[in-house]
């Protein structure tokens, strides 16, 4: 018999069964009939109700589930309505399940919490197993959600989370949190029911007994879904997240046709973003919800209370701590794809190198948000601003103590006072960090990084350590020059800054927060300046400032090299803070040299006497140096070094154009020279306008335009005063240029033809 005929035969047999014609059923149909039997069971009218339980008249059935039924009872003596939970007949016969049912009921009967249903009494031995509890008039918590404001929904979940925390504190895991187990009446007071009673059966066992059990597993945690035996509070946190998700979006976070499919999704897939389902959902609530729904228990809230606290923060309008890792996961996939597209487009030259770099950088910045607390720390909120303001005032106050003498604070008390200010910041910072409140911890630790050198300095002052003067000369001491300041020596300053370096380094190691690399680099820069102080910098500044700027050059090289070395050792988060100091030192050194360094101007005068050693020519040379540095930086693969090159390139236009302008203004002697500079300014400005093209330097374009106008004005004043042909020729030239640009393509073709003919 063919497959097809056999199928027809079976179909006929099944049709006969369905039509109620009695006949012998082929054994192959047994599983199908079993499945149909389940439909019958599901829609069958409920089993008959017992007359009385624990002396209560049974008035009806409230709900039925895998474990048993909840019946409505009336205490006629008290006139009180109660709910009576019974154990299903299937389980009532099983002594161990029965014993655990009663044991759990006994344990939970001791609980007294406004958001947890009360248990009044246990069924007596002679009756079927049951217990009597408070009757909650209400519907599942999600039922009326759509009619509530987001604040009300957050408040509901906060109450539930606190009730769950109450259970956890008493060693009870709920394990079966779902909307159906959190009832709510018109008073908006949620009540937890059914806690601890579902724990008899593991997820595995529950679901494998398809017919028996707990309806939807959609609110189980991934660890429950994986059937792991060890569960903790964070499993309930996940279920709370699932309930919040449904309250917000109106649908459970995970849905699947079959239970197996559903369990797989719970274990593997991220739920759809709530705001994608309803854009009105506040971002903070989405964050809280997704943080609770993290697959990895360690990434969730550590306890139901933490989740409640975050919900409270949302309700109070404070910054919510949660920044779910789900965002980074969500984006990294898409962003990775976009970045690959970007690379392709660059290869195909659809987009320019600059656009590519710019977009890439922004994307990468998006992904950096994985360091969630940094984002939280950067957000300006009242508590955040107050935190940093406090840290700053603390540091400045301590600095005052270090720099100025006070009658009351002298000697040992002063040392004690600064350390008493510094030490707690470190202690609180480390403690808060360990507790996971990174945002706050960073503020304390940063304050400590500032306070530590100050405290060390005060200690040195009072203990008279490193009290030797620079070359034995008070004139070389920074603090001796300040009136009314304490007489700390340069050496003391140097050593206290040096002591700050390992503190920053240790903080970077401890927190792995790049902000401490910034602190480290800044302190190293100060230390470099302190080194110059000890080398007699003040004397230089007095007599020959050029030499001081000359000594900045090693610092510039040092920072640039340090940045490069860090980058080579794959520490881009550290290197990115060293380069800017290198660039700043270079700018300062080169500008200072051009402005003040006598040998520099002597050298150019010797080389080209017509320059008369004017500093403007030196700035032009600086521009050439920046250009060379930019070219050099461009040879590196590193994006950060190229960024350095770009910052050098950035100042070229300003250097050249301002120098030419000043040269024109200052050269008074031969009119020819002055005229030369007027024209040069116009030409250079126009050149910079066009020079912006190859690397898309917008500042070249803008400064070129600006100085072109200045140059045209200068030519008008100095070369063609009162001559009408100058503005007329400008108008004509401008119009011609516009027309040429409009017909650019045609012109090019024509030019090409002319060139060919020659």
């Amino acid at each position: 018999m063919s497959e097809e005929e056999r199928e027809k035969e079976l179909a006929e047999a099944l049709a006969d069964v369905l039509d109620g014609k009695p006949q012998s059923v082929p054994p192959e149909l047994a599983p199908e009939l079993a499945a149909l039997g389940e439909i019958d069971r599901a829609i069958a009218p409920s089993a008959p109700l017992p007359e009385r339980l624990s002396g209560h008249k049974i008035a009806g059935e409230i709900a039925s589930g895998g474990m048993g039924r909840v019946l409505l009872g009336v205490d006629e003596a008290l006139g009180r309505t109660v709910a009576i939970k019974t154990l299903g007949e299937r389980w009532a016969g099983n002594p161990s399940v029965r014993a655990r049912f009663m044991a759990e009921a006994r344990a939970t009967a001791k609980l007294n919490h406004p958001n947890i249903v009360r248990i009044y009494s246990l069924g007596p031995a002679g009756e079927p197993p049951h217990f009597v509890m408070e009757y909650v008039e209400g519907a599942p918590i999600t039922h009326a959600a759509a009619r509530l404001s987001f604040e009300q929904r957050a408040e509901l979940v906060r109450k539930v989370a606190l009730a769950v925390e109450f259970l956890h504190e008493r060693g009870i895991l709920h394990r079966d949190l779902k909307p159906g187990n959190i009832l709510m009446g018109a008073d908006l007071e949620p009540k937890l029911v059914d806690f601890g009673l579902a724990l008899d059966l593991g997820a595995e066992q529950r679901l494998s007994r398809a017919g028996d059990v707990a309806g939807t597993p959609g609110y189980l945690s991934p660890e429950q879904a994986a059937g792991l035996p060890q569960l903790d509070a964070r499993s309930d946190v996940f279920s709370l997240g699932a309930v919040l998700y449904e309250l917000l979006t109106g649908q459970p976070p995970f849905q699947g046709g079959t239970a197996r499919d559903l369990l797989r999704r719970i274990r593997e897939e991220d739920p759809a973003l709530p705001r994608r389902i309803d854009p009105a959902i506040p971002r903070d609530l989405q964050n809280i919800c997704l943080k609770a729904l993290e697959k990895e228990p360690a990434r969730r809230y550590g306890s139901a209370r933490e989740m409640a606290d975050d919900l409270r923060r949302y309700l109070a309008g404070e910054a919510v701590l949660a920044e779910p890792a789900a965002y980074a996961r969500l984006m990294s996939e898409t962003v990775g794809r976009h970045l690959r597209d970007l690379d392709t487009w660059r290869g195909e030259q659809i987009i320019s190198e600059e656009e590519h770099g710019g977009i890439r950088k922004r994307y990468e910045r998006l992904l950096e948000r994985e360091d969630a607390w940094i984002m939280a720390a950067r957000r300006l909120t009242l508590p955040q601003v107050s935190l940093y303001l406090g840290a700053w005032i603390l540091a400045v106050g301590a600095a005052l103590v270090a720099f100025f003498p006070y009658g009351l604070l002298r000697g040992a008390p002063e040392v004690l006072a600064v350390w008493a200010a510094a030490a707690p910041t470190a202690w609180i910072g480390v403690r808060t960090w360990r507790r996971g409140n990174y945002r706050v911890a960073i503020a304390y630790l940063l304050a400590f990084c500032l306070l530590a050198p100050v405290a060390v300095l005060v200690t040195f002052e009072e203990l008279r350590l490193f009290a030797g003067l620079t070359r034995g000369d008070t004139a070389l001491e920074l603090f001796y020059r300040l009136d009314a300041a304490k007489k700390a020596t340069n050496a003391q300053l140097w050593w206290s800054l040096a002591a700050g370096l390992p503190v920053c380094w240790a903080m970077r190691r401890f927190t792995r927060a790049p902000v401490f690399s910034l602190m480290f680099a800044a302190m190293a820069a100060l230390l470099y300046l302190a080194t110059l102080l000890r080398m007699g910098m003040l004397d230089c500044l007095d007599r020959d400032p050029g030499r001081f700027f000359f000594r900045l050059i090693p610092g510039a090289v040092l920072f640039l090299v340090a940045g490069y070395v860090f980058e080579r050792f794959r520490k881009p988060d550290d290197s990115r803070y060293f380069y800017p100091f290198g660039v700043a030192f270079t700018w300062a050194a080169l500008s200072g040299l051009a402005g003040f360094h006598k040998p520099y101007s002597d050298w150019i005068q010797r080389l080209a006497p017509w320059t008369r050693g004017q500093e403007e020519y030196l700035f032009l040379i600086n521009a050439a140096i920046y250009f060379a540095l930019d070219r050099l930086a461009d040879r590196f693969q590193s994006e950060q070094v190229r960024m350095v090159g770009r910052s050098f390139r950035f100042v070229i236009a300003g250097h050249v154009l301002i120098s030419l302008w000043l040269l024109g203004l200052n050269s008074s002697s031969p009119a020819a020279e002055q005229h030369l500079f007027e024209w040069l300014l116009v030409a250079a400005a126009a050149a910079f306008v066009f020079a912006g093209i190859p690397r898309q330097m917008k500042n070249f374009f803008v400064s070129g335009m600006l100085f072109l106008a200045i140059g045209i004005y200068r030519v008008q004043q100095e070369v063609f005063p009162g001559r009408a042909f100058w503005p007329v020729s400008l108008v004509v030239a401008g119009l011609a240029l516009m027309l040429a640009a409009t017909n650019y393509a045609a012109l090019r073709v024509a030019l090409g033809r002319v060139r060919k003919r020659h």
Partner: protein, 197 residues
């Protein structure tokens, strides 16, 4: 189990004005009708009103109109209720977007409305059925079926139509209907078996 004779007896009493008898007869069909109504409601309509809401209203109308009902066969009560449900759903669709119909919502017996019928769940105005987990699970499984398979199972098992009646309603030969039902049941069984891990 449901016995045709007793149902007809209940309905006889109900037509004679015995509200309790009607309640009992309706209660026997409650879950069946809920499943049916659930799938009568489109996915959009399902968000607006629960199947239980509709069932509640169907019962209300049944109380009012019981006089017009005639008992023919075991399935006729369900068929009658099902057609009332169609009207209720159509009315709801018409009222959708309009403000809540004042007074029409709860005309059950209450101090202000002493002549109204007793609600079926006299305990709460609620969706107690949402907590009937077996029904919820059944809905989820049926939902996972392709449309035509689901229709076939609903007709055969929930409405209780014979294959001949189905053939008539679908305008297909009986053999084709038998094959459709067989395949639908096979798929349904696969979904049920897939439910366990």
């Amino acid at each position: 189990m449901r016995l045709p004779s007793s149902t007809s007896a209940l309905l006889e009493k109900a037509k004679a004005g015995d509200a309790d008898a009607l309640s009992q007869a309706l209660e026997r069909n409650r879950r069946r009708l809920t499943v049916l109504v659930h799938f009568k409601l489109g996915p959009r309509a399902r968000q607006l009103s629960d199947a239980e809401d509709v069932v509640q209203e169907v019962y209300l109308r049944a109380f009012r109109a019981i006089g017009r009902f005639t008992y023919e066969s075991p399935g006729s009560l369900l068929r009658w209720l099902s057609s009332i449900a169609d009207h209720v759903i159509a009315d709801r669709a018409r009222y959708q977007g309009r403000e809540k119909r004042a007074g029409q919502e709860v005309p059950f017996r209450s101090p202000s409305n002493p002549l109204g019928p007793e609600p079926l769940d006299s305990r709460t105005p609620s969706r107690l059925l949402a907590q009937q987990e077996a029904v919820a699970r059944l809905l989820a499984r049926l939902n996972a079926l392709p449309e035509d398979y689901r229709r076939a199972i609903l007709m055969a098992k929930i409405e209780g139509l014979s294959t001949a009646e189905m053939a008539e309603r679908l305008g297909k030969p009986r053999e084709a209907v038998a094959l459709l039902v067989f395949r639908a049941v096979k798929r349904f069984r696969a979904i049920c078996e897939g439910a366990g891990p």
